[in-house]
């Protein structure tokens, strides 16, 4: 396990050095990501500024949702975009090169790419999170801090699981999967706002299919000590980040199925 971690850090170092070779464009890309996210939050702020509080929710509370999900997504993108590079590798036969190495394919694919540029979005997400917390009167406890960290961690696992699933589907079909971008970016945009804004069928997608609600909407209610309108229990809300972790574990098992399929059909 330790050896695998050491190898991953080596891979990450290689990836970072590769990206820093183009210093100017790296700076601009990171800045671009930062700006894009600032702009997204500005548009949310503009809505609150014009319309006032909406359905009993304030900007700072929405900021908490925004901060958790964007921080989690940015971290997941830093580590997990190797799975984005994967589909063309299957087509081009480079996956064979990975199979010829005495290491797990999952470790190698994580190691393909460490995207330092996502630090732009990470910084912005954290800024909003900190600003929101500063503007909310939360009665902090060790348990709540732990829950906040668990929510972010659960989010990282969930998004990573989505990246893994995206790569896994390419074992079976070479067709374009815009669907996944919709689910990740669309999921972020949706769960930035309270789940109760949306129609029941929409809520169901982000609770049961892509359970993003479990990593920010539900845990946030415990932190805010707010009554949850859909009627879930506090125990569920506190435990829900676990669902993100389970999602990743399931995704990794499906990946293994995909590798088995590849090895028996030779693609």
């Amino acid at each position: 396990m330790l050896n695998a971690l050491k190898l991953y850090f080596r891979y990450a170092g290689v990836s970072i050095r590769s990206q820093l070779q183009y210093r100017a464009s790296f700076a601009m890309t990171t800045l671009g990501h930062f700006l894009l996210n600032v702009i997204t939050f500005v548009s949310i702020w503009a809505l609150f500024n014009r319309f006032g509080n909406v359905r009993g929710w304030t900007l700072a509370e929405v900021g908490l949702f925004y901060g958790i999900v964007n921080t989690a997504f940015a971290i997941a993108e830093m580590f997990g975009r190797g799975f984005d590079i994967f589909p063309p590798m299957v087509k081009g036969g480079q996956f064979d090169t990975l199979l010829l190495r005495p290491r797990s394919t999952i470790l190698q694919i994580f190691g393909l790419e460490f995207q330092l540029m996502r630090v732009g979005k990470l910084a912005q997400g954290l800024l909003v999170l900190i600003w929101s917390i500063a503007n909310l009167s939360i009665a902090w406890s060790a348990a709540k801090i732990l829950l906040l960290l668990a929510a972010i961690f659960g989010g990282v696992c969930l998004f990573t699981g989505l990246f893994v699933l995206y790569a896994t589907v390419s074992f079976w079909t070479t067709e374009s999967l815009e669907l996944f971008n919709t689910v990740t970016y669309g999921g972020v945009e949706t769960t930035q706002f309270p789940l109760t804004f949306y129609q029941p069928w929409f809520r169901a997608i982000f609770t049961y299919v892509v359970p993003l609600a479990c990593i920010n909407y539900f845990p946030a209610h415990v932190i805010l000590e707010r009554h949850e309108e859909l009627g879930t229990s506090v125990a569920f809300q506190a435990a829900s980040p676990l669902i993100g972790v389970i999602f990743l574990i399931v995704a990794l098992q499906i990946w293994k199925l995909g590798v088995r399929h590849y090895r028996s059909t030779g693609s």
């Binding site: 050491k6 290689v14 010829l100």
Partner: protein, 330 residues
């Protein structure tokens, strides 16, 4: 040296399903609704066994089943039925343990990191293969010396010429001292000196370290230079398996006589020899040494025609293999 064969292959079979689509815009629309599949028999119960330290040529036309066999032996592909053991392991069942003992070089694909200096690719591979530092240092220095890599170690891989890159790929595949080496078109696109360098290296490697080598290539000079044994495969079946001399003998006992005439005009005819081709003043004839002795034939032709120079040779290996391909098609 192990007493049992290094590699055992028995009745290995593999079929593939290939999707088919009609051409044109209506084909594309129909493809939206329904997909058709076609069965390809890639391997049909092939069997052979190799001893440690052999250099084996594995030849056949495109689509013959060569890369399918290699992928199964390497542990990447799982066969439909049959048995395969390499040093007592089943390749596809213990992928990680098996893959640690093999090295693979693809002529058309690189396993090195494009942006990194060569030496850093080597060090990454050392970590991936978990090679002990002392073993790595010894292996690396030996390979650098054998392949003359000392001057290009700090060059990023993307800046290397094809010949330089090929030598680095060979070193990279051998850093972890594997017992079995797969070479797929290793000399493709290389100029003559580079090809010779690669061949010399493989011979030396085999002599020094006793590495078993399986070579798939269309370059018959590679085969002739390196392989004590040749396996010919086509349509998923093994057509021939044995030494080069035996391979030739299986196809034909004929010999070739190459004559360089004084001038282009002369037409050569002989009842016991057939003209195969003419290139300017050079005439190529084939004859059966069982029918007429070379000495007798040479004497006859030299007396009748203005011969400036001549020599006798075995038919080139391309000829032999080509006849296998055409025979198998019949």
């Amino acid at each position: 040296m192990p007493t049992s064969p290094h590699i055992i292959v028995e009745n290995l079979t593999k079929t593939f399903q290939v999707a088919e689509r009609d051409p044109g815009i209506w084909g594309a629309v129909r493809g939206l609704i329904r997909r058709r599949h076609r069965t390809v028999n890639a391997l049909d119960a092939i069997s052979f066994s190799l001893n440690a330290g052999e250099i084996v040529g594995y030849v056949g036309p495109n689509g013959a089943g060569k890369s399918t066999t290699i992928k199964i032996l390497a542990g990447i592909l799982v066969p439909d039925s049959g048995r395969c053991e390499i040093s007592g392991r089943v390749p596809w069942q213990s992928r990680i343990a098996h893959v640690r003992q093999i090295g693979v070089v693809f002529g058309q694909r690189s396993q090195l990191w494009w942006d990194l200096p060569v030496i850093e690719s080597f060090e990454l591979l050392r970590d991936i293969y978990k090679v002990k530092e002392s073993d790595y240092a010894k292996s690396r220095d030996e390979l650098i010396a054998l392949l003359s890599l000392d001057k290009i170690l700090d060059t990023p891989v993307r800046q290397l010429s094809l010949g330089q890159r090929m030598r680095c790929e060979l070193a990279a595949a051998l850093l972890h001292a594997p017992e079995l080496l797969f070479l797929d078109e290793p000399t493709i696109g290389l100029d003559a000196p580079a090809k010779l360098a690669v061949r010399d290296f493989i011979k030396e490697l085999n002599r020094k370290r006793g590495v078993t080598v399986i070579l798939t290539t269309h370059d018959m000079d590679d085969i002739e230079a390196l392989c004590s044994r040749v396996i010919v495969i086509n349509h998923g079946r093994i057509l021939s398996d044995g030494g080069l001399a035996q391979l030739r003998a299986n196809v034909t006992t004929e010999r070739w006589l190459i004559i360089d005439l004084e001038n282009e005009g002369a037409q050569i005819q002989d009842p016991q020899a057939t003209v195969i081709r003419r290139e300017g003043a050079r005439v190529c004839l084939r004859f059966d040494p069982a029918q007429v002795s070379p000495a007798a034939l040479i004497g006859r032709l030299a007396a009748a025609y203005p011969v400036r120079d001549l020599f006798v040779q075995n038919p080139p290996i391309e000829e032999i293999i080509a006849r296998y391909y055409t025979e198998a098609r019949a």
